[in-house]
């Protein structure tokens, strides 16, 4: 029997098929830090999928993520899947979806944009292309890709 690198969890959320190397950005985009979570988080990086591709996995025990939270993951890992685990069984499974408007998660790449000054304003982008993910700033109209570099 194949040895599992990460133990199954009893209850919680498993984020699977994360782009290889993006697991820590996934935690960052979910806003999860050691200060605001009480359960165990396991991160597996650079593991082989059944198809033989490299991927990352994040397991969050005793917490079921909401759709609104998980869709943020689509910005950096559009092929990720979300599995809600209850009593060791997959109770729900779904793919992440890129939201049409992205507020407050990403910083504008334009250093001269008003949102990069000291104004009390939340960033806002519309998605103009999904692959590769390209965003347009609501304020300065600048388009940007390489979103993972600009996560707030």
């Amino acid at each position: 029997m194949k040895e599992l690198k990460v133990q199954p969890i009893r209850n919680g959320t498993v984020i699977d098929h994360i782009e290889s190397g993006m697991a820590l950005n996934v935690l960052k985009i979910l806003g999860i830090t050691s200060d605001n979570i009480r359960s165990t988080i396991s991160v597996a990086m650079h593991v082989r999928s059944k198809k033989g591709e490299w991927k990352d996995i994040v397991k969050i025990e005793d917490r079921e993520l909401f759709a609104r939270e998980v869709d943020r993951i689509a910005l950096i890992s559009p092929r990720a899947t979300i599995n809600i685990i209850r009593d060791y069984n997959v109770a729900e499974k779904r793919k992440v979806k890129i939201p049409p408007v992205i507020r407050g998660i990403v910083r504008c790449a334009n250093p001269n944009c008003i949102t990069n000054s000291n104004e009390p304003v939340e960033t806002e982008f519309s998605v103009i292309r999904e692959f590769p993910l390209t965003l347009k700033c609501h304020f300065c109209d600048r388009t940007q890709s390489r979103v993972e570099e600009y996560i707030i």
């Binding site: 008003i114 949102t115 000054s117 104004e119 304003v121 609501h138 300065c140």
Partner: protein, 310 residues
């Protein structure tokens, strides 16, 4: 008072070709009022707030003149010296406060997106009079209006955009608007000041493929309009780099002899050395007419934002 035609005037990208045509038709109706030949008090009791975080002569004065010609009043500042901004007040607070003093706000700001933020915050209409290297939509409409007035159409015109096509905010939105109206574009710029890729992509998405000319002589041979911009000293960190490109072109009567006899020369002004003053006295010069057209165009925009007509 009628219904406003639109709520703010932030970016030319917010408007359709038909809406821009309507602004230009209304601008034409404003001409006798703009010249003072006819009088109106349609804006009586209304206040235009002019918030200029960066210096400007013509834009600020022409907005003020437009409001005064409509019978309204103006108030505002033309630099942040002596205002609460100098004390550290943020832009958002300044907007929230000044919107309660005025009926309409016109804003120039060094940061891109400032006018959009103001429009989101303010219940009163906001006009963008230039946000950093971003948009300056009333300039775009007055440029289109001037071309239409001089040539009778925009579709199919051969237009050469010359100079600083990288930092010059007027040329980005102008190029996009001209593409929307079906004009043919030729771009001539020093290699360090070429049109940004995302502007070119936007133009190409509208089905216009701009031409690139290596020499000015070649570019103007079949041009209907030569649109010249200043190379902006303030955008260069390195003065030697500025010196290298600043003298790279100059429009004079000798050069214009190689163009079509009815070529018109435009410039958003201020000019420095780009156009020889001898061109001013020829029929080619359209730039002072262009500056004058700022008044009726801005009058039309003010009236449409407040839902009034003279």
């Amino acid at each position: 008072m009628g219904k406003p035609a639109f709520s703010d005037f932030v970016s030319i990208r917010d408007f359709t070709k038909e809406q821009i045509n309507e602004i230009m038709r209304n601008a034409a109706k404003m001409v006798p009022y703009a010249r003072g030949e006819k009088k109106t008090n349609v804006m009586s009791g209304k206040i235009l707030g002019t918030l200029f975080y960066e210096p400007s002569t013509r834009t600020k004065l022409s907005f003020e003149a437009a409001m005064l010609r409509l019978g309204g009043a103006t108030m505002g500042f033309s630099s942040t010296a002596g205002t609460s901004i100098e004390k550290g007040e943020n832009f958002s607070d300044t907007i929230r406060v000044t919107e309660s003093y005025a009926d309409i706000l016109v804003i120039r700001h060094p940061l891109e997106g400032a006018a959009r933020l103001a429009a989101d915050l303010s219940e009163k209409p906001v006009i963008n009079a230039g946000d950093g290297a971003g948009q300056h939509p009333t300039q775009t409409v007055l440029d289109l209006y001037t071309m239409l007035e001089a040539k009778g159409k925009l579709e199919g015109l051969n237009i050469v955009l010359l100079g600083d096509l990288k930092f010059g905010r007027t040329v980005h939105s102008l190029a996009e608007a001209l593409a929307m109206f079906g004009a043919n574009l030729t771009l001539v710029a020093p290699s360090s000041l070429e049109m940004p890729r995302d502007v070119i992509n936007q133009i190409e998405s509208m089905g216009v493929k701009p031409n690139y000319a290596h020499s000015l002589e070649e570019a103007i041979s079949d041009a209907d309009i030569l649109y010249v911009t200043r190379i902006q000293k303030e955008r260069f960190a390195d003065p030697t780099e500025y010196a290298k490109v600043s003298g790279s072109y100059r429009i004079d009567t000798k050069l214009l002899k190689q163009a079509k006899s009815d070529i018109s020369v435009m410039h958003p002004l201020p000019r420095v050395n780009e156009i020889d003053p001898e061109v001013d006295r020829t029929p080619h010069s359209l730039y002072f007419r262009q500056a004058a057209n700022g008044i009726p165009v801005r009058m039309a925009v003010l009236c449409m934002l407040l839902g009034v007509e003279p």
